[in-house]
């Protein structure tokens, strides 16, 4: 191989020529890539500096990869974005302020800076009195000492959706249209949810098997009138409204709101728990839950979780996720896989929130959160799944105003229950979960609520904050059986570990009130209240059975009335029927589809008859009065929605309530029967028997405060005259803070 050998000698011109060339070449060919290389390295120098000793050895070449690169990049991005947003907000602020000032109709002169209303749903006046007297509620006592403590007249009927609607609008039900959980469809006599209308999507773009909804389904809040926060917002007073019932779907106003009672689960129901089980399919749950068989698969079990219906596919089949359970007998644990989510569960221990994603279409997922519990894993295996809550972080339906508020709260405090009636009372009724699990679930939800309340309170400098805590209601419903002797559902009371659940909860709330008092500022008014009280639910009254026995309701030939939703009723011979919890409807000609009672004189006559016969109705078996009084709704209040109301409201005696069968529209069976469910306390009775409570850190000017007075009071405290359509009266005639401060000076 001829090797070319080059000597070290070169002529001067050659040298000059080549030296220049070499420089050129060096500049362009060698130096540049080195330079580019170095430049890249310099870009990442900040990261390299962090690398310490290793980097000192290799300062130039290290390249921080995606992970750490992202760490830097995203944090710079966040900083940059916030700077931009902040700059934007600051620049926009004068403009927004100007707009607000211009839009302000009359400048209100607020008496106070912040109004904080905390609602403990169902806190009972009688129980509160008892435990105050026993010194078990020191912080409630302290609050009463600071201002006032009083019983609070509830709504008629005394049910949460009605009561809280009257609370927020300051109006009687005839003006806000919520008379019960249920309303009836006059065309079919079928019940419907009174507060929300959920429509269906009727226009699609079809693409073979797929279809694209061209319109959002109608979703409307049916509560009429205007809540006080809307009116305050019209005058630029900010309100945060957390979980006040009958706020789904959320309304737009100046403030933020998280929906509550009657917000559905992802399946569109009011809360359907699921039980995956190997137990043979016996009787399915009568109410509330669904039983899904688990099939054995090798050393594990499998089933399919059916989620919400998929609007993107013709026929709207449910979206499905595979579910599998593997039992590790040695470790006494079960491995649950649902879709691509896996979790390890200890038997009889409720999991934390688990996020599930149902895939509807490419790039479209519907997200849910749920809690799981292996209820047994010996001979049989059963897995309890709590109702599929709408994931607050990615809500599939509007559950807050502004729409991102639910997401914001989830980012701030973590996942939280979004279902209206989130505490799974039915699972406890059916014995799927036990007392302890129900309490754990209820307390966890309560703590979530406290966390969101704190987050809101810390950030609110002026305006109103209203938050409703549901635990009082749910725990009294489910644990009343331990509170008194001889409750039909109170078997095994002596051995119950949670016999004092109600008292424990009142004390828990008392501690929270202590925290509230400690955090009060000078310009704050704090009101702690409940929408109604509580009573025992020992005996169910089937009003439809009574109507049948007394000739006001007739059945179709050969039927016994045991079908749900009044399906076996012969409407052509029926004058009155009961639906829901509150009362009776007349079958009025021209109003109901097959009405037979002529409006006017005849209707009045039937009403009077029913009032006379039912008032004082005696439960012969127990020798007690079951119905104290029946009220003619039209005589109780007037308003544009009176037509939607039951014609008669039934005031049950303490210990009685509409029976379970009657509420679902059955007419068979006895008129009076024992209530054997864990759901053992209730409040849908004569409202005079179940007043709520009100505590305030300043004295109020009224002797007979009512729930309906709160809305006008909130307006008044912010210098706004309540509008004439409100039925409630303000609780303060004068500025309570000015009076307190003056009083304070005197005593000091």
């Amino acid at each position: 191989m001829p090797a070319c050998r080059l000597s070290n000698t070169m002529t001067a011109p050659e040298m000059a020529h080549f030296a220049g060339k070499a420089r050129d070449v060096q500049d362009t060919t060698l130096a540049k890539p080195r330079h580019a290389y170095m430049k890249t390295a310099r870009l990442i120098t900040p990261a390299l500096l962090a690398g310490g000793a290793f980097l000192c050895a290799a300062p130039a070449e290290a390249y921080i990869g995606p992970g750490a690169g992202f760490a830097l990049l995203s944090s710079f991005l966040v900083l940059f974005t916030t700077m931009v947003i902040a700059a934007f907000s600051v620049l926009l602020w004068p403009l927004r302020t100007l707009v607000r000032i211009l839009r302000r109709r009359r400048r209100p002169e607020p008496w106070i800076k912040r109004l904080i209303i905390v609602g403990f749903d169902g806190q009972d006046f009688g129980l509160t009195n008892r435990w105050l007297a026993e010194g078990k509620l020191p912080n409630f006592q302290k609050l009463a000492g600071m201002g006032c403590y009083h019983s609070l007249k509830t709504s008629h009927p005394s049910i949460s959706p009605v009561a809280w609607s009257s609370f927020s609008t300051g109006a009687h039900p005839a003006k806000h249209r919520i008379f019960d959980f249920l309303d009836r469809d006059r065309r079919t006599y079928l019940p419907q949810l009174s507060s929300t209308r959920v429509g269906k999507v009727d226009r699609f773009l079809s693409l073979g098997r797929w279809r694209i909804p061209l319109r959002k389904p109608e979703l409307r809040l049916l509560r009429g009138s205007k809540p006080f926060w809307t009116l305050l917002g019209e005058r630029n007073v900010w309100s945060t409204v957390l979980r006040v019932p009958i706020t789904f779907p959320p309304e737009r106003f100046y403030g933020a709101q998280l929906s509550a009672m009657c917000a559905p689960d992802l399946l569109g129901t009011q809360g359907t728990f699921l039980l995956f089980t190997t137990r043979p399919a016996g009787e399915r749950f009568k109410e509330g839950g669904l039983r899904i068989p688990l099939s054995r698969n090798g050393n594990g079990f499998t089933a399919t979780l059916e989620g919400p219906n998929n609007l993107f596919i013709k026929g709207e089949p449910p979206m499905r996720l595979p579910l599998s359970i593997r039992i590790d007998g040695a470790r006494k644990r079960a491995r649950i896989a649902i879709g691509d989510v896996e979790t390890d569960l200890e038997p009889r221990r409720l999991s934390d929130w688990i996020q599930l994603s149902f895939r509807a279409a490419p790039l479209v997922t519907v997200s849910a959160i749920t809690r799981l519990m292996i209820t047994e894993m010996d001979e049989h295996v059963s897995l309890y799944m709590s109702p599929l809550n709408i994931d607050p972080e990615k809500p599939a339906m509007p559950i807050s105003h502004p729409s991102y508020y639910a997401t914001y709260l989830a980012k701030r405090i973590g996942p939280y229950a979004t279902l209206g009636l989130a505490e799974d009372t039915w699972a406890l009724n059916e014995g799927v979960i036990d007392d302890a699990t129900f309490l754990r679930m209820t307390y966890d939800i309560d703590l979530e609520r406290q966390a969101m309340f704190r987050a809101a309170l810390e950030r609110m400098r002026a305006g109103t904050l209203t938050c409703v805590f549901d635990a009082t209601d749910r725990i009294q419903h489910m644990f009343w059986r331990y509170l008194e002797d001889g409750h039909p559902a109170g078997t095994n009371r002596e051995n119950a570990a949670h016999a004092d659940a109600i008292e424990a909860l009142y004390r828990h709330n008392d501690a929270f009130v202590g925290e509230l008092i400690g955090g009060l500022d000078k310009g704050d008014v704090l009101i702690v209240l409940s929408d109604h009280g509580f009573s025992s639910f020992r005996r169910g009254v089937n009003l439809n059975a009574w109507l049948l026995a007394n000739g006001y309701l007739a059945l179709q030939e050969g039927k016994d009335g045991s079908a749900e939703w009044l399906r076996e009723v012969d409407w052509s011979r029926t004058q009155a029927y009961a639906l829901g919890l509150a009362g009776l409807y007349l079958n009025v000609k021209g109003r109901e589809a097959s009405g037979v009672v002529a409006p006017g004189e005849e209707a009045r006559r039937v009403k009077t008859e029913l009032i006379e016969k039912l008032s004082g109705l005696v439960d012969e078996e127990k020798g007690a009065v079951g119905v104290r009084e029946v009220f003619d709704t039209a005589a109780l209040y007037q308003g544009p929605y009176l037509d939607n109301a039951p014609d008669l409201l039934v005031g049950f005696n303490a210990g009685y309530r509409t029976s379970w069968d009657c509420a679902t529209g059955m007419a068979s069976g006895p008129v009076f029967e024992d209530n054997l469910k864990a759901w053992s306390g209730d409040h849908t009775i004569d409202p005079r028997l179940v007043p709520g409570v009100i505590f305030c850190n300043v004295p109020i000017d009224r002797e007979d405060p009512a729930l309906i007075d709160l809305a006008p009071t909130a307006l008044k405290l912010f210098g706004i005259q309540p509008p004439p359509h409100m039925d409630g009266k303000t609780l303060f005639e004068k500025n309570p803070l000015a009076r307190r401060d003056a009083g304070g000076k005197r005593t000091s």
């Binding site: 049910i159 609008t169 109006a171 005839a174 003006k175 959980f181 249920l182 469809d185 065309r187 079919t188 079928l190 019940p191 419907q192 949810l193 959920v198 409307r220 009429g224 009138s225 205007k226 779907p249 309304e251 737009r252 559905p264 689960d265 399946l267 569109g268 129901t269 009011q270 809360g271 359907t272 728990f273 009568k286 109410e287 509330g288 839950g289 109702p387 509007p398 009636l421 009372t425 039915w426 749910r474 419903h477 749900e564 939703w565 399906r567 829901g580 919890l581 007037q638 308003g639 544009p640 929605y641 379970w660 509420a663 679902t664 759901w679 209730d682 849908t684 509008p723 004439p724 359509h725």
Partner: protein, 64 residues
């Protein structure tokens, strides 16, 4: 309400609507108009099926 659209009405009618809304106890003329229209439309709308209703109400603690 989230999605609203304006409808033009005769001025005299609007005046009457306002007057009546106040007397009847509505919180606004809009609420009155909405309610009046809803009542009419409900006669035309298809009723929900029993299956749908049962599903919607499932889990409502007080009832079923």
């Amino acid at each position: 309400m989230f999605n609203t659209k304006s409808v033009k009405l005769d001025k005299n009618l609007v005046a009457r609507v306002k007057r009546y809304a106040e007397i009847a106890g509505y919180s606004s003329p809009e609420e009155f108009v909405t309610h009046a229209l809803e009542k009419e439309l409900s006669k035309l709308d298809a009723a929900a099926t029993e299956e749908d209703i049962k599903k919607t109400l499932r889990g409502l603690g007080y009832i079923s």
